[in-house]
């Protein structure tokens, strides 16, 4: 099937468009989006298996050969991320069915949700740097709408900041692409990589690499570019927050991974050093932020920043092992962040507040919620044998091995602060004197729990079954540490 790797983009695209026609019929919307999401999961699984068996898959769109047309490239990293993105959006979608509220459902919520997935999957799969920009725009525009949808005061206030920062970063992106094109004369990533190697990455290219780091750092929320994140992620309803936290920042970090291993890997003494410092500062400020608040949303939001820093650290160490560790960790993090946000969303729905000081004793009436949260909390802190453990271990070990002693130690110790911050929610919110929450009776907790439970079960199996996952991650790390594999797959076709 020639167009296989396009399908995870095409299916949600069609769904998104068709859903525009049926804004009045909410049931139909739910069915359509559910089926489309499920289909996307299935299709991305096929892509994953195909890449596992046959290596990197490419698609030259409009039948123009690389590097003259736009090429989609699915290497193992892309395939894994597309697969995870599809699963997570499916989970957040079924969570939305019972939680987003009919008003938003009438105003194109499901349609925009699908478009967001289009942008994310497209960004992961494209092999062309300007096309990456376009998919970023799709993703961002959808996120603007989802952020503001509902028009509550906090949403409007935070949206303007979010939109402003992202428009600036998009402008920077275009300018950076323009500069790059001026120097290397091509937009195809494999071709860029080849040409940059040929001229041995002169100074100006390193400067542009730093410029790209700023662009993607803005999207990925790395210090000191992350100021927009806590405010804007705090505003929208839970499933939107979950999809943002699990996917959007990861696209930024993926872009850094891709550009710094494929396009600009030649001056690691400089570029990757900068990334390393930024990563470590990100972890530290994120961890400080995580323990600072008594607002359950903010706690998880700052945990996003910590995770981004950990993954960025892995990229900066730039060894095969550290890249493998980053990929392991990236996949785990996408999954568990979504689960945490969904669980926190249920807590807010039951208690009517996100202030931890006002919540207590939830475990008495909602034990399922409590224990699922407990497991999710242990997972995010990297406790074995759950999913966060192995990635962190490989990362830390490779950090020590390559001489990044302080960075690796900081990554290790950040787990303690992460654990403290998420356990704070358990100890104060779930334990404690049970309170009466009359509004809670109306909340369809069991139906809302389906999505996070699925994700947590995934985390458990991912952790226990690491051996089965390992060949995939290996293949991904292989391509990342060896750009020639990618270049040959794309340009020889």
């Amino acid at each position: 099937m020639t167009n296989l790797i396009l399908l995870p983009i095409l299916v949600p695209l069609l769904a998104g468009i068709i859903l525009i026609f049926f804004t009045k019929n909410i049931h139909l919307q739910r069915w359509l989006s559910g089926i489309s999401s499920l289909a996307t999961v299935v299709v991305s699984a096929f892509v994953l298996l195909k890449v596992r068996q046959d290596g990197i898959q490419t698609l030259a769109l409009s039948s123009w050969e690389a590097p003259f047309g736009i090429t989609l490239v699915s290497d193992m990293l892309s395939a894994l991320l597309v697969f995870m993105a599809s699963i997570i959006s499916f989970a957040c979608l079924i969570y939305s069915f019972r939680s987003i509220g009919e008003q938003r459902e009438r105003f194109y919520y499901y349609s925009i949700f699908q478009f967001l997935l289009v942008g994310v999957n497209g960004a992961f799969t494209t092999g062309d740097i300007f096309n990456l920009f376009v998919f970023f725009e799709v993703m961002l525009m959808s996120s603007y709408v989802l952020l503001v949808l509902g028009g509550t005061k906090i949403q409007l206030r935070e949206s303007i900041k979010y939109i402003l920062v992202n428009i600036i970063s998009s402008a920077l992106f275009v300018v950076a692409v323009g500069y790059l094109y001026s120097i290397v004369g091509t937009l195809n990533m494999a071709h860029i990589s080849q040409r940059v190697s040929e001229i041995n990455q002169p100074g100006i290219i390193t400067v542009i690499a730093v410029l790209f780091l700023i662009v993607f750092g803005l999207k990925g929320a790395i210090f000191p570019l992350f100021f927009w994140l806590p405010g804007s992620y705090n505003a929208p309803p839970a499933p939107v927050m979950a999809i943002f936290g699990a996917l959007l920042t990861k696209v930024g970090i993926y872009s850094i991974m891709r550009t710094f291993t494929l396009l600009f890997p030649h001056d690691t003494g400089y570029t990757h050093q900068i990334l390393s410092v930024m990563a470590i500062l990100t972890i530290i400020t994120g961890a400080i932020g995580a323990i600072a608040y008594w607002d359950i949303k903010k706690i998880i939001i700052y945990n996003i920043i910590v995770a981004v820093g950990v993954i960025a650290f892995g990229i900066s160490v730039m060894s095969y092992d550290s890249l493998a560790g980053s990929v392991f960790y990236l996949i785990h993090d996408m999954n568990i962040k979504a689960a945490l946000f969904l669980l926190v969303g249920i807590m807010i729905k039951i208690t009517g507040t996100s202030n931890l000081r006002k919540i207590s004793g939830l475990i008495a009436h909602y034990p399922g919620l409590g224990w699922t949260y407990f497991l999710a909390a242990l997972t995010v802190a990297g406790i074995p044998p759950l999913s966060g453990f192995i990635g962190k271990v490989i990362l830390v070990r490779s950090g020590f091995e390559e001489g990044h002693y302080w960075g690796a130690a900081i990554v290790l110790m950040s787990s303690l602060l992460v654990l403290f911050s998420v356990m704070k929610i358990f100890i104060n919110g779930f334990w404690g004197e049970p309170k009466d929450y009359p509004e809670g009776k109306k909340v369809p907790v069991n139906q809302l729990m389906i999505a996070p439970v699925l994700l947590v079960i995934f985390a458990i199996f991912y952790g226990l079954g690491i051996e089965a996952v390992q060949p995939y991650i290996s293949q991904a790390a292989e391509t990342l540490s060896n750009p020639d594999i990618y270049i040959n797959a794309v340009l020889k076709e």
């Binding site: 099937m1 020639t2 167009n3 396009l6 095409l10 695209l13 069609l14 468009i17 068709i18 525009i20 026609f21 698609l59 030259a60 769109l61 409009s62 039948s63």
Partner: protein, 140 residues
């Protein structure tokens, strides 16, 4: 607001069709000369905006009883559909095909799937511009 727009309205009634025809011309000319879907769509949208300025929203809504969001969606379907057509032939998405054909009135014309794609672009541009203007206008 009841202002005396007689001059504007009369002028509009005359000029409107000219603009629309010109925009359609721009649309079809795209592949060989400056023009194309964006420009054509923008000109048509500009024409309709002129209509709005001269008359008011309700009148325009009566003349053009479209839900412009659906127009946008139809445009997107055209564009995606053109691309998906290639899938039927197991060719990469959005591969275009073109040929020369003999049409009854027009004689030898070259046909290109890009036109279908451009129609999609055209419709999207109109739909988007008008959705925005209508929405903002209605909320006055």
């Amino acid at each position: 607001m009841k202002i005396n727009d007689v001059i504007l309205q009369t002028a509009t009634k005359l000029v409107l069709f000219v603009i629309i025809l010109f925009s359609i011309h721009l649309f079809f000319a795209g592949h060989y000369y400056p023009g194309g879907g964006f420009i054509g769509g923008l000109m048509t949208a500009a024409a309709i905006v002129l209509l709005l300025l001269a008359f008011d929203l309700k009148t325009v809504a009566k003349i053009l009883p479209f839900d412009f969001k659906k127009v946008t969606a139809i445009g997107l379907l055209f564009a995606v559909g053109t691309g998906a057509g290639a899938l039927l032939f197991d060719a990469p998405f959005l591969t275009h095909a073109f040929t020369d054909a003999y049409l009854p009135l027009l004689g030898k014309t070259s046909l290109h799937t890009a036109v279908l794609f451009d129609i999609g672009v055209y419709l999207v541009v109109i739909g988007v511009t008008l959705t925005i203007i209508q929405t903002i206008g209605e909320s006055e």
